[in-house]
Symmetry: C2
Subunit: 198 residues, 2 copies
DNA sequence: AGCTACCAAGCAAGCGCTTGGTTTGTAAAG
DNA sequence: CTTTACAAACCAAGCGCTTGCTTGGTAGCT
């Protein structure tokens, strides 16, 4: 268990411990099937005490999502900054996203993808705005590659296909298996820039 | 609205109308946030009357899933039978799956993908068995292509990437847009057999 | 007569959340 | 070094509401 968010030091405050426990439970059972009593029990307090830290159950969900988006947007930025060539940047982006999705922030990311409609309208919009920033980083890199002729198809569509491939990975990828994360990143990369044989 | 299942004639019985309405609501709000009162209201009966047709709310969900898996497994079989070359079969499979996922059975398929953990253990297993049959059809076709050298990577992994790409499509594909379903199928096909440029 | 389809009413359980009060850690005031 | 003050963290109890589902009976078609 544990790990969940892996944002440095977040687990040390009561609020952080609640967020981690909630992310874990939300992924396992879904937001609706997780009760505030479940969350409370898994950090060893009474259910009512939760509302000293969060105004509502939905607040917890939103906090999980907000933290994980911010954290992983920063990770994308670092990935891009560490590379110079567009192709190198794309590989770094794919690696970073896989790391988010099946690696250290896996639980919170899964929650982000599967439980977003449990948010009210306002917060769905806020989450969407944060996601738009994240997506723009991808589109910039893909557009650069596209202009230099690395692939033919519409960058928007390519990004959607990439989202699908990485987003499905938690359902099958085995972190202890023989296929490493970087191996998978290269396989996915080849679906874009086309270095695989035929 | 409507369409939902599109299994011939299923909408004509009270049970069929309930299944269609349920599939629609389950996709919109999720299983847990859909009440039996919602379902009843959308076909114009009282909530208690539902239990004349189904033993439980979960029964409705399972019925939706079972029908849509069976229906689309048959569709895959027809797609394969209509083609002779392995590559033609793969293209037909991709088209068929896209048709399932963003076409006529879109609502029920989305429910199948997103709400399977709302089932009890027994039924999750049953659903998994049905899915295994479906997946075997894919693996047979991919293995055939692989042995004849059409692509290099592990067919299992390729299938997973394909699942991701098609499964994500409902989140962005616009059936009224300029990109047709067959266009998209060809774009996805090229990620496997590698006919795109570089 | 009997079956399918339904209604009207409501029950028991579980839910998110509130309330009023108690403990605990910390740090300035005496 | 002790006392006082205070806020953060938590408990015990339970309220009001919604939920899935049950029950006993009725309408209508064959």
């Amino acid at each position: 268990m544990a790990e969940s968010l892996a944002i440095n030091g977040i687990d040390d405050s009561p609020r952080g411990r609640l967020l981690s426990a909630a992310a874990h439970l939300f992924r396992d059972k879904g937001f609706d099937r997780t009760t505030v009593r479940d969350i409370a029990a898994s950090v060893g307090i009474q259910s009512g005490s939760i509302f000293h830290h969060f105004k509502s159950k939905e607040d917890i969900l939103f906090a999980v999502m907000e933290e994980v988006i911010q954290f992983n947007t920063d990770r994308l930025r670092r990935a891009i900054a560490a590379e110079v060539s567009p192709k190198g940047q794309l590989r770094a982006l794919i690696r970073a996203e896989l790391q988010s999705i099946v690696g250290d922030t896996a639980e919170a990311m899964t929650v982000l993808v599967t439980e977003w409609r449990c948010l009210g309208e306002d917060r769905q919009r806020k989450a969407l705005e944060l996601r738009a920033i994240y997506e723009q980083l991808w589109l910039d890199a893909l557009n650069a590659l596209h202009t230099q002729g690395a692939f033919r198809d519409d960058p928007f569509i390519v990004r959607r296909l990439l989202t699908g491939m990485t987003g499905w990975a938690p359902n099958w990828f085995d972190r202890d298996g023989s296929l490493t994360l970087d191996d998978l990143a290269d396989i996915i990369l080849a679906r874009v820039v086309g270095e695989h044989d035929r």
